[in-house]
Symmetry: C2
DNA sequence: CTTGCTTGGATAGTCTCACTGTCTAATAAT
DNA sequence: ATTATTAGACAGTGAGACTATCCAAGCAAG
């Protein structure tokens, strides 16, 4: 198919497709002449993936490019796979003081998360620094509950990593890491609504 | 204190503080003369809050402004409070087709999240559309596990909302909604590391 | 009291990001 | 033969978050 058909099918303007081609985030079509190239289903799917990554998942073009690169040329070690997925969506880090750092380490130790990379520990510390900046304190029990909930989630996810094919495992890990994040956040908010509605009902019943 | 001292204390350049003042996201100091104003501890704390919101929490300046506005002039109804917190950090939405919409509704119903707002349902649908765009399918059990985990989290959070003071409740809900998100995501990644390390150990042991 | 630094306020400039528009020469469609 | 489309190059746009420059009015030190 030609670029206009690709634009039609994917719902993305031709100019934007050309931009993705220039950025190297979309593979080029098969050249049929000096002014024509042939695009196929893989291009449609790639564009859909790009839109998903830079949309709901919140990645930048360059982060999406890195991630897609890892998809196509997966790191040889499984361990590097997680790292690639995690570094694909870099969190904005704020300043972290020592007390916050210590708090993060405390949470990590209580959760039994040994052998964790500095990167994710720093991300947690930075998030805690945000809470601290707002004078927002949470009880240790709450952190432990968060840790337990995320352990449940992560255990299931890791357990479900396909073992038959490396390519399938790569896709599962890279995409699952990034694309599930908005799902979880949306669900938390839905659960908030539900929980607060129930509390309302309880309070109304008391009167 | 003068603006240069405020800059020193908060670690933010004077020019940026002036920018925050212009944007109305930082309240102005007490004027002591035509060319001088007095800033205090509230300004230091506000700047820290702003940095936390636009940093790790990923809010834009205008979203942060809205949220801070709600903090200072809380909506009268508790129900509106959650809405204010949720709309303060607007998710980027992608295109959602009917099947995805139906999938979202299915998940919501199975989780027992009735009375949910369209906004959050759309956010979930949009996140699911991202998965679908990447041909990433999750089993219903996985979604249900996510839902259960988030219900646990949200129930605890809502239960801990302070009931003694309205102001305290407002701060808890608004800030907790937004600032805890990066905490949860960082924890999920830490738990991934741990889970994958354990699987490695198991596989190594099998050999 | 003068010399120089600081401030508030206004305005304009910078940098990044993710596009979007324009142009050209070569081709494809009719 | 005429009209439409395309690849590729390059310049322009608009939003967002600052950053820099000016100016007149203080304030501070010698």
């Amino acid at each position: 198919m030609r670029i206009s058909a690709l634009a039609e099918l994917s719902g993305v303007p031709v100019a934007t497709i050309k931009f993705y081609l220039r950025e190297g985030i979309l593979h080029s079509g098969a050249r049929t002449s000096a002014t024509q190239a042939d695009y196929d289903e893989t291009h449609v799917r790639r564009i859909a993936l790009i839109r998903a990554l830079i949309g709901p998942a919140g990645l930048s073009i360059s982060a999406a490019k890195t991630l897609i690169g890892s998809l196509e040329a997966p790191p040889p070690e499984f361990h590097d796979l997680l790292g690639a997925a995690h570094s694909a969506s870099p969190r904005v880090m704020g300043d972290v003081d020592e007390a916050t750092e210590a708090e993060a380490i405390g949470i990590i130790e209580r959760a039994g998360w040994t052998n964790c990379s500095g990167e994710n520990r720093d991300a947690l510390a930075s998030a805690l620094a945000g809470l601290r900046a707002a004078d927002f304190t949470l009880k240790d029990e709450t952190f432990d509950l968060y840790a337990a909930a995320m352990t449940t989630v992560a255990d299931d996810e890791v357990r479900r990593i396909p073992t038959d094919s490396l390519q399938a495992a790569v896709e599962y890990v890279l995409l699952g890491t990034v694309l599930v994040e908005p799902v979880l956040l949306a669900m938390r908010r839905l659960a908030h609504e539900r929980a607060s509605a129930r509390i309302f009902a309880d309070r109304a019943a008391e009167e």
